[in-house]
Symmetry: C2
Subunit: 274 residues, 2 copies
């Protein structure tokens, strides 16, 4: 496994530095030598998306992904149709922005079984797939930690995500793997190999799991602060053929309250040890 | 699947009504017609354990389990030895109390890989097994939710617990299944069947997963408050041959702050819909 000696593969999610506007994020990432940016949809509210895409490329940043589509399941047909329409809009926005990939947080409806939600996720992806394909944009199923099975995602292991991507069987549908969600999984190594062998490792996200996590959503750790064997998982991902961007995605009320420039410097330091 | 029409199979964990002393818990459970009690070790601090056992039986309550042993892994050999000694004391205490089963929260040390922790768990169980066997006390591996993989348990799915119990291959080692930890698992039904076919379904714990859980430890829901398909899981467990106590184990800062008699009434009402 290669050491990370520069920032050629470092991508930062705009949500990681949430207090910054998209313009500030672009400027500061570029100034600090970050190479890639994953744009969250909320950062584009009331913005000219095409102009924002130009701005990013002008600053020499590569757009890695657009976050996020998904949330397909619902007990109500009308809401499932709304989700399909919304996901098509996400694809359109990604196309205008110039993002090659959309991350899918698949969703779950607590009013029905997880299996029903899983079926609706598959059906939803199949329904938006032609739209994504004609826009030339890939879709990445992100397995979410089992603590989100209630209402965020019924896809909670890499095996499930691999099974679904394999069943859908399109070069446009693969996996976004986030160490936060999967590090505990005893099947992780096997499923990473399987994912790689299917050519479906589309994205790799990092952060850390703090031992005394105080919030299920917004208390993620900076790499090195917790117990995820990030380097070990990176080596598995790279042995499986992945050599793309390493994306830092940290939701943290603590870090969001700090000076974001200093925080970005900390991210860069921590990244080199991943 | 049979309806729950009375409290013949209802067991309450002393931790569920944590504000009560063990004497109050015994008295109130008996008064309200609860049939079983699972005693937590903390409830016995500075108590005469033998006397407490008598008191429980005098009140007509059945002692279902003793909580808890485990926490085997450590990077340090001396701490692993301490854990073995402590688990033997837990067995001795369970014997004096008159409990037939000890629930194992297996432990994890974030300073080493999950696989190392898993190996140490297996070794630890094997080491205390003769002591348990000669005391006539069974040991139940409890798979814990993946959000506890950092430092509470490296056994995070029923499949892992089944694999370990199968490998150890003793009639004294089985599984304690808590819906809170496993409800999200796509393999759950298969693994419940497998567990039953091995005669290793030793205990069944219930509570609920609240959609807006605010604390990783002490914000469990009362049955019906969340999204766990408890009745569905109970039917699977019973189809797999389990007909023992249904144990209510709820850690909840919210409920602990309320009137415990009223809370116990709520538990009884909620139980009948499980």
């Amino acid at each position: 496994m290669s050491e990370l000696k520069d920032y050629a593969r470092l991508c930062v999610h705009t949500i990681t530095t949430k207090p910054w506007s998209i313009e500030s994020a672009i400027q500061e990432y570029a100034l600090q030598g970050i190479s890639g940016i994953t744009v969250w949809r909320n950062a584009l509210e009331n913005k000219n998306i095409q102009h924002t895409g130009h701005l990013i490329r002008e600053q020499g940043l590569e757009i890695v992904s657009f976050c996020r589509g998904g949330f397909f399941p619902s007990t109500e047909l009308s809401k499932r149709k709304q989700a399909i329409d919304d996901n098509k809009r996400v694809i359109d926005e990604a196309a205008v922005l110039g993002a090659p990939l959309i991350v899918l947080v698949c969703g779950a409806d607590p009013g029905q079984s997880l299996q029903d939600s899983r079926n609706q996720i598959r059906d939803g992806i199949l329904e938006i797939l032609p739209h994504a394909q004609s826009a030339g944009i890939k879709l990445a199923i992100e397995p979410l930690h089992p603590m989100y099975a209630g209402d965020r995602s019924a896809i909670n292991t890499l095996k499930q995500a691999n099974d679904m991507a394999s069943e859908i069987n399109s070069g446009y549908v693969g996996i976004a793997l986030d160490v936060y969600h999967v590090w505990w999984d005893p099947d992780l190594e096997n499923e990473i190999q399987r994912c790689g062998s299917m050519d479906k490792l589309f994205a790799f996200h990092i952060c850390d799991w703090k031992l005394n996590t105080t919030d299920l959503l917004n208390d993620r750790g900076l790499m090195g602060e917790g117990c995820i064997p990030i380097r070990h998982i990176r080596s598995q991902v790279e042995e499986a053929g992945f050599n793309g961007f390493i994306e830092v995605e940290i939701f943290s009320t603590i870090y969001w309250s700090q000076d974001q420039k200093e925080y970005l410097s900390k991210i860069k330091q921590a990244y080199l040890h991943c």
